[in-house]
């Protein structure tokens, strides 16, 4: 295994952390980590090691290199189990990312358990990946969707949520953190209340897992989906965690190699968890890379990461607020993850993005896959800066300068 960088041993220091990420040699101020993160050498090395030393498929073969590959592949499963504090690694399913995880639940759990007239509760903060699968399921089954609204600060209206829970929803689905405006939802309390109301609960952890971490047993939900590529891992690997009893009662999602016990012309028996849900050749190198990313995050310490992001976020909110005509969406910094979504009077977010890009600042403009929220906020799009372990104040300074320049141009 590539030896771990010394970063982890020292008190957290983003300037040092940054050195582990080859991308920063480009000089770009990367402010789009809520979209996808950069990846440290530790992760790239883990994948290269696979490609160079034990490149082979997993589970299927009895020769040595394949056994090493299998061990590493399954090693990630155990690392994930530890990272999210799941009861068993059997509950940890490899997916391409959050979207596949949610779709898996919508197909395999939803089509079996949701019936006409059933209520599905979601929130206006959700990412399209946690909206559209339920719209489709509702349309197919005749179930009803109800949305929890937000208040003026972009925080969920809990009294409305509780009123909806009285209608005994079959499923409640919510994000731990909003990718669009950074709201940290009171997920634990909401899950608790939903469970008491008898609902099955899915938590979209796409932003939660990378920035806050999670203890799925403490959180109390039934399903938890997240993406490796947003937490320093490679593209192509993500995780769905589910409670064993639920996963066992579900039909497979995709079918094919590796998810079977025995295939006969007359019919097929399926493999036990977790392989039942991993049909076909998986993203072996990427799963191994995800394991390395988790190792790296654990080395930094999730609390350090959250604290660092809070600092940067506070700094960014203050600095941006000083610009005239700039309006920030979402809650105060105490209930906000490392995301600052804003609009600048008179400059469309896309124009702003183009101009700051010419200053070497990568700023996201758009609806952030949260169109219902944009409509609710009554904006066509926002500009969004999002932060991670490697973000430094200089990145924020460059953003502020670039925005000021755009204001000069558009004045």
């Amino acid at each position: 295994m590539a030896t771990f960088t010394s970063t982890s041993r020292q008190p957290f220091n983003a300037e040092h952390v940054r050195k582990d990420f080859p991308f920063f040699e480009t000089g770009v101020a990367y402010l789009d980590s809520a979209n996808t993160s950069q990846r440290p050498r530790h992760v790239l090395y883990a994948m290269d090691e696979y490609f160079e030393q034990f490149n082979s498929n997993v589970h299927r073969a009895a020769y040595h290199v394949s056994e090493v590959a299998t061990e590493r592949y399954e090693g990630t499963r155990e690392a994930v189990r530890r990272f999210i504090n799941a009861h068993s690694a059997k509950e940890v399913i490899n997916t391409r990312g959050t979207t596949e995880g949610i779709n898996l639940v919508a197909y395999s759990w939803g089509q079996k358990n949701i019936k006409a007239g059933d209520l599905i509760v979601l929130t206006i903060l959700e990412h399209h990946s946690n909206i559209v699968p339920w719209q489709i399921l509702a349309a197919k089954t005749g179930a009803r969707l109800e949305w929890v609204d937000v208040d003026e600060q972009g925080e969920l209206r809990l009294e409305q949520y509780h009123a909806l829970l009285e209608q005994k929803p079959k499923l409640v689905t919510l994000s731990q953190i909003s990718n669009a405006i950074g709201t940290i939802n009171p997920a634990k309390q909401m899950v608790h209340d939903a469970k008491r109301a008898g609902a099955t609960v899915l938590v979209d952890g796409a932003q939660g897992a990378p920035h806050q971490g999670v203890d799925v047993r403490d959180l109390g939900c039934d399903f938890y989906a997240f993406s490796g590529h947003k937490m320093l891992g490679p593209t192509g690997a993500g995780i769905l965690w589910g409670r064993r009893e639920l996963l066992e009662a579900m039909d497979p999602f995709m079918a094919g190699g590796d998810m079977i016990k025995a295939v006969r012309q007359e019919g097929t028996t399926y493999a036990d968890l977790p392989l039942k849900f991993e049909a076909g050749t998986q993203a072996v190198a990427e799963v191994i890379g995800l394991g390395a990313a988790i190792e790296y995050l654990e080395g930094l310490g999730m609390e350090n990461i959250t604290r660092h992001e809070r600092e940067i976020t506070e700094y960014a909110m203050e600095a941006l607020s000083e610009l005239p005509g700039l309006r920030i969406f979402g809650p105060p910094v105490e209930r906000r993850a490392g995301v600052v979504s804003f609009e600048v009077e008179g400059i469309h977010p896309h124009d702003l993005s183009t101009i700051v890009d010419r200053h070497g600042v990568a700023l996201r403009a758009g609806h952030h896959c949260a169109m219902p929220l944009m409509i609710r906020l009554d904006v066509p799009a926002t500009s969004r800066a999002s932060f991670y372990v490697y973000t430094i104040k200089d990145d924020v300074d460059r953003l502020v300068e670039a925005v000021a320049d755009a204001q000069r141009i558009f004045a």
Binding site: T26, G27, D351, H359, G366, P380, I409
Partner: protein, 138 residues
């Protein structure tokens, strides 16, 4: 690489683009248009609608409305200026390259859709073209 291009913004958002954005020409509606059509670019929320009044095969009047980024709105404004008074036949020959060269700036792939939205409205709507080749971009 970016980061080195400081100072080119003024060039990129040329004076006259900003001028067309802030003071759009032919902005508004025509009361009884020969053709009218509106399209949006859902990805970024840009909207452009165009009303055409055609007399004797000539574009007698044209107006646009909409909202969105400077590129989409300036490009619409420029397009209306260009087309007004043209014969329909001539107007039909206007292509992507014409629009882009008229903008006179280096449009990045992600913004091409903004720049071409007004042309798309004209082609897909007013001239009833089903498929719009501009979709291939971006």
């Amino acid at each position: 690489m970016p980061g080195q291009d400081l100072g080119v913004d003024e060039q990129f958002y040329r004076e006259y683009i900003l001028d067309h954005y802030k003071n759009p020409r032919n902005f508004g509606h025509i009361e009884h248009p020969t053709y009218t059509h509106e399209e949006d670019n859902p990805l970024c929320g840009d909207v452009v609608g165009i009303d055409l009044l055609v007399k004797d095969g000539v574009v007698d009047d044209i107006k646009f409305h909409g909202r969105g980024c400077a590129i989409s709105q300036a490009s619409a404004s420029l397009l209306t200026e260009r087309i007004k008074g043209m014969s329909l036949d001539e107007a039909r020959t206007i292509g992507k390259e014409d629009v882009l060269s008229e903008l006179g700036i280096d449009i990045s792939p992600a913004r091409i859709k903004c720049a071409l939205l007004s042309l798309k409205v004209l082609k897909a709507g007013a001239w009833g073209l089903g498929e719009w080749p501009g979709e291939e971009e971006g």
